[in-house]
Amino acid sequence: MAELNISERQAGDVTILDMDGKITIGEGSVALRSAVRRLLEEGKKKILLNLARVGYIDSSGIGELVSSYTAINKDGGQLKLLNLTQKLQDLLTITKLLTVFDVYENEAEALDSFK
């Protein structure tokens, strides 16, 4: 089984990536980077990452979230985060990244925020 499985859903012009697994150095980080780059190439610039089933992330995975955020912003898009686990929320808090990312606990609210 892959370290990180990513499935894609479309809600209007927002692409939701449901992520399941670990975002860690190597396979997990690469999978996230590839998914985001492919969406940008397809012109999909409103991206919501559903992290409910991401049980583990390391500094490389956090770096990849930041990299995705800046790449999407640079392209005039928006990246938002949905359903952070408590551990991920703690990591984003201590790294002060919680002030950078737009984070939601409810999918409908997250989708509304793109309008």
């Binding site: 860690t24 150095i25 190597g26 390391d58 500094s59 490389s60 956090i62 770096g63 990849e64 930041v66 990299s67 955020y69 800046t70 551990k87 990591l91 201590i94 790294t95 002060k96 990244l97 002030t99 950078v100």
Partner: protein, 137 residues
């Protein structure tokens, strides 16, 4: 409490990170370490081994990373020894400073220091860098 020592020689590949984490996880479960503490230790070990493999040994397959785990009645100690040229951890900028927040790397050492009670680096006179991390029990 049983006093244990585990030693592991790891290859300079990214896969070594999960191998090290699995060994530490087994060790901690034998010690009955609380899950919330185990999470931080696991994170610190992964970051230390990632640094050893990637920045220390630069993925050179001719080099290895030695991992040593031991406990005492007061603490759990993890030692990661690479064969790289070494570095000064104080040269790594604080990733929480405003100018560094959006950097895509440089958080590994911050996590190690954050989750462990003590972390220190030393140069092995025979070569390589030794990282000692300690978590109080």
């Amino acid at each position: 409490m049983t006093l244990e020592t585990t030693e592991l020689r790891l290859p300079s590949r990214i896969e070594a990170v999960s191998e090290a984490a699995a060994a530490v996880s087994e060790f901690m479960s034998r010690l009955g370490i609380d899950e919330s503490v185990a999470f931080g230790v696991d994170m610190a070990v992964r970051e230390a081994v990632t640094n050893a493999v990637l920045h220390g040994n630069k993925l050179d397959e001719a080099k290895v990373v030695d991992l040593k785990l031991r406990n005492s009645p007061e603490a759990f100690e993890i030692i990661v020894h690479d064969q790289g040229v070494g570095f000064n951890p104080n040269d790594i900028p604080d990733p929480t400073k405003e100018e560094n927040i959006l950097k895509t790397s440089g958080r590994g050492i911050f996590f190690m220091r954050n989750f462990m009670d003590a972390v220190d680096w030393s140069a092995d006179p025979k070569g390589g860098t030794i990282v000692r991390m300690m978590k109080k029990l």
